[in-house]
């Protein structure tokens, strides 16, 4: 049984259709990279999978369970942890509060997150609205980890991060992968992405067009769908 299984997903913003047919799966312990150019529907796919955006056709299953009738908090409690595009830290909460506000018990504790991102610990009393961009990204990852998700979803995982930190994040992702964490990840840096990913899935205008291991992702495909 796949951890996450999306089939024939269609989604709309009001009357305009953003997803036409998305198929995507993430297995237990797998790291899947979701790719595509700007505006192709990566974020929309993720939002649908988290039930932030209701979808109309197709199905999304998580650990065999149909997510159709569930609200987003139920999905999260089933074990989906989201690091959203644009970070969306709670600006009126302190760093510490951001971390604990939705925490659920499990391996990931405040100590572990602080150990992973020491800078967050230094700034724990500060309101998260005054954090630098990179600090906010760390906070968003830490916040998602604190919910101890079975599947971690990272939308634009390293956007706006300095190279050192970016490296840290990638190594954190590899660590997580090593520990058996399942991850669905969107990022624009192909090089690093392909290093950690077990599988890549490409979207083109709201439709899944390619799926396979990174090794099969040849220049031609990259050129066609990713514009590299």
């Amino acid at each position: 049984m796949m951890l996450l299984e999306i089939e024939g997903l269609q989604a709309f913003y009001g009357r305009s259709q953003a997803l036409f047919s998305v198929n995507l799966s993430v297995d237990e312990g797998e790291v899947v990279a979701l790719m595509g150019r700007n505006g192709m529907g990566k974020t929309t796919t993720i939002r649908s999978a988290c039930k932030i955006l209701p979808y109309r056709h197709g199905s999304v299953r998580f650990r065999g369970r149909d997510l159709g009738p569930l609200r987003s908090h139920r999905v999260a409690r089933l074990g989906v942890g989201l690091v959203p595009e644009g970070r969306r830290c709670f600006p009126n909460l302190t760093v510490h509060e951001n971390l604990v506000v939705a925490a659920r018990p499990g391996e990931w504790t405040l100590e572990r997150v602080n150990a992973m991102f020491p800078r967050l610990k230094e700034r724990q009393r500060q309101s998260s609205s005054t954090l630098s961009g990179g600090e906010q990204q760390m906070l968003a990852i830490g916040r998602a980890l604190m919910t101890n998700p079975k599947l971690l979803i990272l939308d634009e995982a390293t956007e706006g991060l300095a190279p050192v930190i970016r490296r840290e994040i990638w190594s954190a992702v590899s660590q997580l992968k090593m520990a058996g964490q399942s991850i669905l990840i969107v990022d624009k840096t192909l090089k690093e992405l392909m290093k950690v990913a077990d599988r890549c899935s490409i979207l083109e205008r709201g439709t899944s067009v390619w799926d396979g291991p990174p090794s099969d992702l040849n220049k031609d495909i990259q050129d066609r769908f990713l514009g590299v």
């Binding site: 150019r37 505006g39 974020t43 990179g134 990713l226």
Partner: protein, 249 residues
């Protein structure tokens, strides 16, 4: 050498005990791209905010085109020719991409206190705005409300709006963030060509872009400029490698 377009003189800004800007002095000259890099939280955006006028420094001064602009408001600085983009896109969500850019054009072309003539009948305004949208490859999406643009498209829109201001200096805060490889590449080319029209102070974490674009790089760590120099000098500076670039693999 002619006087710099922008020169910062021992600028200081603290948030409580935190020195976000610690005695920073730097120049941006005609025709150059000056890149500002540094770890997250080093104070790059804070610096940009002070130059743009949305934060006021605790000390030091900012000279732009030979004048001290420290006392001017954000809007006044923009009218003097200081254009900027934001780290997190800032657009008018209900307006179409076109109308967003038209607003910038309108501010460079005469007064905004004209109450009677419909803007959508103002060809000059529309054409000028369309031109900028084309320049950033967004003309196909001209009539889509900004709220419905994807993240990357919104970054492009920001750039178009900044350009439409016909600035004498551009402050770009992470323009590549959120753009795909394709987007980054075309933006790099675009900026490369742009430097001849307008000097740029560029904050960016995409090192590939920075190294290929910058004429000069300053490295900010904990609010201090720890190094400043050409691409080669910075690449080989051990302090910078440790604080920012990390060990090359």
């Amino acid at each position: 050498m002619a006087e710099a377009v922008l020169s910062l003189n021992s600028l200081r800004k603290s948030f409580g005990a935190l020195k976000a800007t610690d005695n920073v002095s730097l120049d941006v000259h005609e025709g150059e791209i000056h890149a500002l890099i540094g770890p997250n939280g080093a104070g790059k955006s804070t610096l940009i905010h002070q130059v743009a006028g949305s934060l006021s420094p605790d000390g030091g001064n900012i000279r732009f085109l030979g004048e001290d602009i420290g006392a001017l408001t954000v809007a006044q600085r923009v009218r003097r020719g200081l254009g900027r983009t934001f780290q997190v896109s800032s657009v008018a969500p209900e307006f179409s991409a076109l109308r967003n850019v038209m607003l910038s054009v309108q501010s460079t072309q005469g007064s905004s206190f004209r109450f009677f003539r419909p803007v959508m009948r103002d060809r000059a305004l529309i054409d000028a705005a369309m031109e900028k949208l084309e320049a950033v490859d967004l003309s196909e999406r001209a009539n889509i409300p900004a709220a419905e643009l994807s993240h990357g498209e919104r970054r492009q829109l920001e750039m178009a709006m900044a350009l439409a201001l016909k600035p004498q200096l551009l402050l770009l805060d992470e323009p590549m963030a959120g753009m795909g490889p394709e987007g980054s590449r075309s933006l790099t080319q675009f900026l490369d060509a742009l430097r001849h029209e307008v000097p740029i102070l560029l904050v960016e974490h995409d090192m590939e872009a920075v190294f290929s674009l910058a004429d000069r790089i300053s490295v900010l760590v904990y609010g201090r400029v720890i190094a400043s120099g050409s691409v080669e000098e910075i690449r080989s500076n051990p302090d910078v490698r440790e604080a920012y670039l990390g060990e090359e693999e």
